[in-house]
């Protein structure tokens, strides 16, 4: 655990000093300023728009951090052989991968936290003087839940990206497959429900079966998207939250296990 922690620590430190990260966070802050303007263009339930914008910016920033910073950091270690400095120590590839995941994950969590606070501030400012225009059920607790589950979904995408970096030979391929996994994860539930309820595909059990298989492989990211719930303060079910969290965390562990298995077999010439 100490060894994993050591790798996580340097991955996190390296990440926090990355100028790209500063750029992403600045962009986030800029978008919050935009949020205040955009919100003013609506005259009803502006609070919903403000919350929507806030949560979407957090998600977007997290995705950019994973797809560019995260995948880059992992593949640079391999391409530039920075990993030699780690693996020439009494550290295993598992320490490296899990440590990297925690380091980068902490980076994503930090970004969500910082942007989350800023998002809340921007919602406050945007709604200043018109608090009655918050949707009726809105609560900051649901807002926080929205951010937490969104971050969990980002961590799943990160774990998948770690897996794809170990499984592919080129960073661009890893990026592409990770983005595709994200998109599939976001939409699979939607597509499956359309196809299984549509009459057009009713006679095609093969297609439905295939989709069912795919849905076991890719994560159901739509389940973690509580933006609408948070924006309107819709009621949330504790059992649903627990189930989703269990699903997400176990998915991450499975991803990292497979990634380690692949990486252990891989040579690093």
């Amino acid at each position: 655990m100490t060894k994993t922690f050591l790798v996580a620590k340097i991955a996190f430190k390296e990440g926090t000093r990355n100028r790209a990260l500063h750029g992403i966070i600045s962009l986030g802050i800029l978008l919050f300023a935009v949020n205040i303007i955009v919100t003013a263009m609506f005259s009803w339930e502006m609070g919903k728009v403000a919350v929507d914008m806030g949560l979407s910016v957090i998600s977007l920033a997290g995705l950019i951090i994973i797809f560019f910073l995260g995948i880059n950091s992992l593949s640079n270690d391999l391409e530039r052989r920075t990993i030699y400095l780690i693996l020439s120590r009494p550290l295993t590839k598992r320490h490296y991968l899990v440590g990297k995941f925690f380091g980068l994950g902490l980076l994503v969590i930090t970004s969500s936290l910082v942007l989350g606070v800023l998002a809340a501030v921007s919602v406050k400012i945007a709604m200043y003087g018109s608090e009655s225009f918050m949707p009726a059920g809105f609560s900051w607790a649901t807002f926080c839940l929205g951010i937490i589950y969104q971050t969990l979904s980002l961590l799943i995408v990160l774990a998948l990206s770690v897996l794809w970096v170990t499984a592919t030979s080129h960073p661009f391929t890893a990026l592409l497959v990770s983005v595709i996994s994200y998109l599939v994860g976001q939409n699979l539930e939607n597509v499956t429900s359309i196809i299984s309820t549509s009459k057009v595909f009713a006679g095609n059990p093969f297609l439905i079966k295939t989709l069912e298989w795919i849905s076991w492989i890719f994560p159901n990211l739509a389940a973690f998207d509580l933006k609408t719930t948070a924006a309107y303060g819709l009621p949330v079910d504790a059992a649903y939250l627990a189930l989703t969290a269990a699903y997400g965390i176990s998915y991450i562990i499975v991803c990292l296990t497979i990634a380690t298995a692949i990486f252990n077999r891989r040579e690093l010439p």
């Binding site: 609506f42 009803w44 339930e45 929507d52 979407s56 949707p135 597509v191 609408t228 819709l234």
Partner: protein, 278 residues
């Protein structure tokens, strides 16, 4: 050295001037374009749009509404094709985020009075009503549209009563629902609706003024109708003009009409109007 400096300087000045000129010309052209600014909608089914938006459905819905708002704000009159596009955009926005209040308010504000598409409005409002069980407005609007535009008193009564069941709904709603069941008081209902809209603290000053004027005009109509009724009771016939009401001492003077110098009166039917539309 000097030659290079000169070359660079002339490039900077020459192309700089060209850029400024082209830029300002472009601005003019764009200005003209703005008058023909049209709403861009992609005719795709909601689920497909939802897929494209992924986890960013919420802001995609907001964006569509902003487009609609910008379009309606930039244009004096809209063609039926334009309204068709507005209705598509509103429908797509509802597919992306069926909860948003602004969407159904746009639907009610534009698709009924201006676009004359009450059926579509009712269809879209039903989506909102289904997703916002805590909100009495969507079923109330549906009821109103059924009553006012579609003359379907049955459904109107049903939705008014439904709206009245929502916590925090005005007491008026169940009353209206009950009255519609016996098909009466059309002007009165419209008046009540308008008055309830005035309670909304979010109204713009101009909107408030508009509604107040309409209320005043409708009150004038109701007042004159009552006077006509008592005239008829007294004289056994309808008067030839509204002035006769004053001559017969039924009223002191005709109420002021915010939309015209005076109220219009149809002596064959006995109807009173505050504007030309009949």
């Amino acid at each position: 050295m000097k030659k290079t400096t000169l070359l660079l300087l002339s490039c900077l000045l020459g192309f700089g001037a060209l850029n400024l000129a082209a830029g300002s010309a472009l601005k003019d052209v764009r200005q003209d374009l703005k008058t023909t600014y049209s709403l861009r909608t992609v005719p795709v089914p909601g689920p497909v749009l939802g897929m494209a938006a992924g986890e960013f459905k919420g802001i995609a819905a907001d964006y569509l509404l902003m487009e609609v708002g910008a379009f309606l704000g930039s244009r004096q009159e809209a063609s039926p094709e334009d309204w068709e596009r507005v209705s598509t955009a509103l429908e797509q926005s509802l597919m992306l985020d069926p909860y948003f209040q602004q969407t159904y308010l746009y639907v009610q504000a534009f698709l009924t009075w201006q676009a004359k598409m009450p059926e579509k409005a009712v269809e879209l409002l039903k989506i909102s009503a289904q997703h916002r069980p805590w909100d009495w407005r969507p079923p109330y609007y549906i009821g109103f549209d059924y009553y006012f535009f579609l003359k379907d008193f049955d459904n109107a009564s049903r939705y008014f009563l439904e709206a009245g069941k929502v916590e925090g709904a005005p007491v008026l709603l169940p009353l209206l629902g009950a009255r519609f069941a016996v098909k009466s008081g059309r002007t009165e209902v419209a008046l009540r609706l308008l008055e309830s809209m005035l309670d909304d603290p979010t109204l713009e000053e101009t909107e408030r003024k508009e509604i107040s004027q309409r209320i005043e005009a409708m009150k004038g109509v109701l007042y004159l109708k009552a006077a006509l009724a008592s005239y008829k009771e007294k004289e056994g016939r309808l008067p030839d003009s509204l002035e006769e009401l004053i001559e017969k001492d039924i009223i002191k003077k005709t109420p002021s009409n915010p939309y015209a110098s005076e109220y219009l009166y149809d002596k064959t039917t006995g109807y009173v109007y505050f504007d030309e539309v009949k």
